[in-house]
Symmetry: C2
Subunit: 335 residues, 2 copies
């Protein structure tokens, strides 16, 4: 569990995309962000108050969140200086970068000397067990997709917001780095040893109250030639009662695999339901979540209405229309 | 690549099951085993000449193969003594145990000082890439199963033997510890980081001659709630042209999961073909490999003949009938 609230570290982020993790946290958990630390060269911001580590500590920040994930990967010397200052000021540090915080000697030694905690959220926790496939109490919904990056995290968080606003018991369960930093806990299932994927999902969404919903963030797609194993293990371990199928209609081929066209939505629904029923015979796709951001208002509404009719279930865009129709269906327990 | 021939290390194995790895190697690669080292208390043997490490070294052994995998897991002090003697005598050491050889200080230091290689076959090699899903030259066959431990390794090795005897180009590709020790190379796909399962399979069975068959050892089952993710990633990465479905008719429920009945063979064939076609549109289950060891001769023959008729493909038991009908079908390229 990562201690909150956060100080978001944007460094010299050139654009929004470079620090999308920080943006995600600021968007979904604004009240858990004390402010942000950016260098003068930064070309973007998250809309929270700018401050240094000592000011953040004074305002109650508990953890500096490294909100960037540059493709190069390494920590720049200047970043390391900032992280050391944060540790000195009393903050823990959390990061979703490929390079581990404790692989940087100065950071590891300072954290140890001061008793601070370093969170590398890409690193699964120790002690994950093999999945059992045994049914456990509580309700679960998993977001799945026709492809990677089809809005599964966004949809899960939008559902959590709408469901808790209605007084339903619902908890977002994070399976990727950004999700984990938003939730403050979770397991990066794609970084787990292959034999333990479904076990990780079982641990992530454990037994709960009979009327409590775990909203499990999906990963990849059963139709993605690189990552389908992760998606299937997650599907079996999450044991979802309900699924929401996420889709980006602007995509023609699978992400990073131009040889592979996107699967038909109908086929993707059928295969997900078939496989999910191995561990939950009631598993049903309850609705569609569609990213219509590249369409105009009229086109978008027409597409959503056509998809809803074609598949006999609500079709929403969490940004454009909100997810209320999905939550209506979840509350009813059927399409 | 593990250097051969081997000296099989049986220690004080109480029965055949305790050292089934050594048995597998002695059965499938008799000419690559110089002999075996057992303590006086051992209650079983592999049928190769008994000898100590120095005798083995004189007869050309290159690697001591730890042929046991006790559930406790640790190396007994007496075993460590034997391994050190083997290193002194000039042998490398290969092991499929959970405990890593280089986690034992004495073994690691001695190997380093003498320039010997320690092979922990459960440990995947570094540098595995994410799967691409791109088609590569060469032919591939994957053994799949209705469950774990349904004869996938045995069937793959029996196919290799029959195909090479017929002059076909065929190579067994190992994905589990025993298979890797038999082959002398391979990747334990269940120990790979989840994101890289299909990439590991692509690396294991790389581009090859257009008439060369890679016979890839399957793992788990698409219907096993604990391990299906591994099976799906392997299926996508292996890109099999043909599949052989392995089945143990004595099993009623999935291994280690009494809540889950075995899937109907027909359903298991259909799901494997459907999923395999994501990366190889021609993928077809060409035959059945059935473990009839618990049946009498008449019952067994009747079962095989019934299954062949029901599914319209050859059904064999590699031990009882041999795999010739499967190889006939493979050579024809259809059922």
């Amino acid at each position: 569990m990562i201690k909150k609230p956060y100080l978001l570290f944007l460094a010299d982020a050139p654009d929004r995309n470079a620090c999308k993790t920080a943006f995600g946290v600021a968007f979904w958990r604004p009240h858990e962000c004390v402010g942000e630390l950016r260098y003068p060269e930064a070309k973007t911001d998250c809309g929270t108050p700018a401050m240094d580590v000592r000011e953040a500590a004074r305002r109650g920040a508990k953890t500096l969140l490294v909100g960037l994930a540059p493709s190069g990967g390494a920590f720049a010397p200047r970043w390391i200086e900032t992280l050391l200052l944060a540790l000195d000021a009393g903050l823990d540090v959390a990061s979703g970068m490929h390079v581990r915080l404790d692989s940087v000697d100065a950071i590891r030694d300072r954290a140890k000397a001061l008793g601070r905690v370093l969170h590398d959220v890409r690193l699964p926790p120790p002690g994950i067990l093999v999945g059992t496939g045994r049914k456990r109490p509580g309700l679960r919904l998993l977001t799945v997709g026709t492809d990677c990056n089809a809005g599964k995290m966004f949809t899960s968080l939008a559902l959590e917001k709408e469901m808790t606003a209605r007084g339903m018991k619902a908890t977002f369960r994070a399976t990727g780095q950004t999700g984990i930093l938003i939730a403050g806990s979770g397991i990066a299932v794609d970084a787990v040893i292959a034999d333990f994927i479904s076990g990780a999902a079982e641990q992530l969404a454990p037994a709960n109250d009979p009327d409590h919903w775990d909203l499990v963030e999906g990963q990849g797609s059963l139709f993605h030639p690189s990552y389908a194993g992760v998606s299937l293990g997650l599907l079996h371990g999450a044991q979802p009662d309900l699924l929401v199928m996420c889709h980006d209609p602007s995509r023609k081929t699978m992400r990073g695999n131009v040889d592979h066209p996107l699967p038909p939505i109908r086929e993707c629904i059928a295969l997900n339901e078939q496989c999910a029923r191995l561990t939950n015979p009631k598993a049903t796709v309850i609705g569609l979540s569609v990213n219509t951001s590249r369409l105009g208002e009229v086109e978008a509404k027409a597409l959503l209405s056509r998809l809803a009719q074609e598949h006999g279930m609500p079709a929403v865009d969490p940004v454009r229309t909100g997810v209320a129709p999905l939550v209506d269906a979840i509350a009813r327990g059927r399409r």
